[in-house]
């Protein structure tokens, strides 16, 4: 029996509960999470120091973060026009899903921008970037630093 046949035979034997359990243990792609966390302190464009200590209100922080990230993107794109990767990295630290609560006006211009190679990539990254900001606010800087 070849490997694929054997794999599919075992797949048939898996129960729905087994598959759901496996699926629930995984969330969205974490491909860049480790790299982002390990580089967090070294990242020269965006770091915790970019956030003022007074920016405790979530809307203010989101706006501030949005501006900082956009500026970072502009700088990165001057150096390397295809560098969506850096921006994608920024958005991958959070596990909170707050997509339904994010104000769409904040990222509409990013989505419509033709400068970046992948609109979906930008949208996804920005969604998770916002999640990161909410995570910072809800769990506190101490928790975030602990994660880093």
């Amino acid at each position: 029996m070849n490997i694929l046949s054997s794999l599919l035979k075992d797949l048939d034997l898996m129960s729905d509960d087994d598959i759901l359990e496996l699926a629930m243990r995984h969330s969205e792609s974490t491909f860049y999470a480790e790299e982002f966390v390990s580089n967090f302190n070294a990242y020269d464009d965006v770091s915790l120091s970019n956030f003022s200590t007074n920016s405790r209100l979530i809307d203010l922080v989101i706006n501030e973060y949005y501006m900082v990230v956009t500026e970072a993107l502009e700088r990165n794109n001057k150096r390397n026009k295809n560098n969506i990767h850096d921006f994608y990295l920024l958005g991958q630290v959070s596990t909170l899903d707050v997509r339904n609560t994010t104000p769409t006006s904040l990222y509409s211009d990013l989505i419509s921008s033709k400068r970046y190679p992948s609109r979906m990539g930008v949208m996804k990254a920005f969604h998770t970037s916002l999640s990161s900001v909410q995570s910072i606010c809800t769990s506190g800087l101490d928790s975030l630093l602990k994660v880093c």
Binding site: I3, L4, H26, S38, V93, T95
Partner: protein, 196 residues
């Protein structure tokens, strides 16, 4: 197998500890804990020893920080493309890619059906979930490692073949995960970089 025929691989880590410590402790095992709420506890290709293949170029950015830089260690991997179960090669073996794609398609059907029956909403499927499911099969579990690449643009140059706009990408990053039980295939060679 002679050293010359083995794969060359690079592993990076934080710059701390003596050279002897690094020599003794590397490569570090990356543990995949898919139950964890922390992203850093989930690995692309499940639990194993992770390396960049052939060139240290991609290892240079990994575990790097501005103050201390990082450490890059060179290893030889006693694995061969000629042995059936040494490398599940998702980057260079079309048969392996086809197998993965076909399995993923069936797995996704089962997953969607299970979710519908139980009224559950699931997040997007990821590579590690599929591999974890495949590793439950005894035949597949004979593989000692998995090789893959990703679709990052950074560092990749696209060179046109002709004027038909099809390009050849150069500079891609190839990563290999050697499963924990196959640590004996990993041979330390040298610390090739230390610092900023």
């Amino acid at each position: 197998m002679g050293l010359l025929k083995m794969l060359t691989a690079f592993h990076s880590c934080k710059n701390s500890g003596s050279d002897d410590f690094i020599k003794e402790k590397t490569p570090f095992l990356s543990k995949h804990n898919s139950n964890s709420a922390s992203n850093s506890d989930r690995k692309w290709l499940t639990t194993g020893y992770y390396f960049w293949l052939d060139s240290k170029r991609h290892a240079e950015k990994w575990n790097y920080n501005e103050k201390d830089g990082n450490v890059i260690v060179k290893f030889k991997l006693n694995l061969s493309y000629e042995n059936e179960y040494d490398i599940f090669d998702l980057a260079g073996n079309a048969n392996h890619q086809d197998m993965f794609t076909e399995y993923m398609k069936k797995y996704k059907e089962r997953r969607d059906s299970a979710a519908q029956k139980k009224g559950r909403k699931l997040s997007n499927i990821v590579v590690s979930e599929i591999i974890e499911a495949m590793l439950r099969n005894a035949t597949f579990a004979k593989f000692k490692s998995i090789k893959c690449n990703d679709d990052r643009n950074s560092g990749v140059t696209k060179i046109p073949f002709d004027d038909d706009k099809l390009c050849m990408p150069i500079g891609q990053a190839f990563q290999i995960c050697v499963f924990e039980r196959n640590k004996n295939t990993i041979i330390f060679e040298d610390i090739v970089h230390r610092g900023v």
